[in-house]
């Protein structure tokens, strides 16, 4: 799902970027309040580079984690999985789940792939991303996530599940975590996926 779409978009952008006068046309097409207005580079769990705005194209539920996290971050994944289970198969085809690392030093594509495997995340729906160090704070900024790297390698961070529409506008957010899907967020996801 995600990957062919991404490759197509990347190629399209690469082609457009070769023509300097039309680069703005690509950006202008994004809404002013789209988080994808942020210029940032990332790599996914397959070490494939992409721009933040390449995530455009379908609604996505985005959150930030770090894979070394022992307590809250696994619960965040649980929470998103619980929400995924509530969706119909047809709905699951139309949404993307995105985990963005706040620990680019240690969260290599291999570390992200390991989370995909050990947590049984469906690669058709889930994307795990490592931002460039330069773009990390900005991504957290547009998503409204606050974090601080601690001396021992852990992180203090806020937990935000952010629902984006296909153009990257924030539709809903939830700070709730736990084994069950947040009903309000689930309703917002359903609304975003309704034809």
């Amino acid at each position: 799902m995600m990957r062919p779409a991404c490759i197509t978009t990347c190629l399209a952008i690469a082609a457009v970027c070769a023509l300097p006068d039309t680069t703005y046309a690509v950006e202008a097409a994004l809404p002013s309040d789209s988080v994808y207005q942020l210029d940032a580079m990332l790599v996914d769990q397959s070490a494939r580079p992409l721009r933040f705005r390449d995530l455009r194209g379908k609604p996505r539920l985005v959150t930030m984690i770090y894979t070394q996290c022992k307590y809250v971050c696994p619960m965040i994944v649980d929470c998103v999985k619980a929400l995924e289970r509530e969706l119909t198969p047809a709905e699951r085809l139309r949404i993307g789940f995105v985990l963005i690392s706040m620990d680019p030093k240690r969260d290599t594509p291999a570390a992200l792939q390991e989370v995909m495997t050990t947590r049984h995340l469906n690669p058709a729906a889930w994307t795990l991303l490592r931002p460039d160090a330069a773009g990390l704070r900005g991504i957290a900024g547009v998503l409204g996530v606050r974090y601080r790297a601690l001396a021992d390698g852990e992180f203090n961070h806020t937990t935000e599940l952010v629902l984006l529409d296909a153009d990257g506008r924030i539709l809903a957010r939830s700070a709730l975590i736990g084994g069950r899907a947040d009903p309000g967020l689930l309703a917002a996801v359903r609304a975003a996926l309704s034809p």
Partner: protein
């Protein structure tokens, strides 16, 4: 200078020497171990700060106008709303024009974090971290760490108690601190790279963090130095801002690693 009159009489020599290179340029700061006024449970013995360079003065309207002209994406009429709120550069006469309410040598204000970050990147630099800023701002004119001196604290606090209705002075008018930096106190608040690392929220103040899962890990920061109000006010202000936010008294300066 007029903002810290107490220092003037005793430091005329410093002022005279430093005035020769008052505005612009970079100052090299040596590395060191620094104890923040914030209580950092993960670094009880202080944080090691590598040597870095910090801009001598905050970025001015003139400098930011040059940036906006060469990077039109950051004009107020073109910047995406997600990167800068509606009041971004609203005090300028036009999208690429300063006018009488934004004098060239005044510090630029009404800038978002994203815009400040993009400016510094255009200079092959970055925003300073909070640790770097606090480390640099601990100095007075003669000492690199004057924080334990009540008189110094009072001087800084005096600025915060003044009304902010007066036009901002030009950058560089303040006397230099022991590193040769100016305007760290007494002119504007300044963005830092990790503004959103200062996890002090209304929730924590009101309810205590222990029962909240909003913060993962060791929860919100507190202070180990309750007398250092100047630093605490900065932290409270930064922790209340979104990256797209802008205010009348918030500017920035850039840093870089050697």
């Amino acid at each position: 200078m007029r903002r810290i009159p107490v220092l003037l009489g005793m430091l005329s020599l410093t002022c005279t020497v430093a005035a020769a290179d008052s505005a612009g340029g970079w100052v090299s700061l040596p590395g060191g171990v620094f104890r923040s006024a914030l209580e950092l449970p993960d670094a009880p013995d202080g944080t090691r700060i590598p040597a870095f360079e910090l801009a001598r003065t905050p970025v001015t309207n003139r400098e930011f106008l040059d940036f906006v002209r060469s990077h039109p994406r950051w004009r107020r009429d073109r910047v995406p709303a997600v990167l800068a709120e509606s009041r971004y550069l609203a005090h300028w006469a036009g999208p690429a024009e300063l006018g009488s309410t934004a004098l060239p040598e005044q510090p630029v204000t009404w800038v978002s974090w994203f815009a400040a970050e993009a400016y510094c990147r255009s200079q092959n630099a970055r925003l300073p971290t909070w640790n770097e800023w606090e480390y640099a701002a601990a100095a007075d004119a003669l000492r690199r760490d004057a924080r334990s001196d009540p008189a110094w604290r009072e001087t800084i606090l005096a600025w915060y108690s003044r009304p902010s209705t007066q036009p901002l002075p030009a950058v560089g008018a303040d006397s230099a601190n022991a590193y040769g930096l100016r305007d760290l106190h007494g002119l504007v608040w300044e963005w830092v790279e990790d503004y959103s690392a200062l996890l002090v929220s209304a929730d924590n103040r009101e309810q205590g963090a222990a029962d909240s899962l909003e913060f993962c890990g060791a929860a919100a920061l507190s202070t180990s130095d309750r007398d250092n109000y100047a630093v605490l006010m900065r932290v409270a202000m930064l922790s209340s801002l979104e990256g797209a936010g802008a205010t009348a008294n918030l500017g920035f300066r850039c840093a870089r690693s050697p």
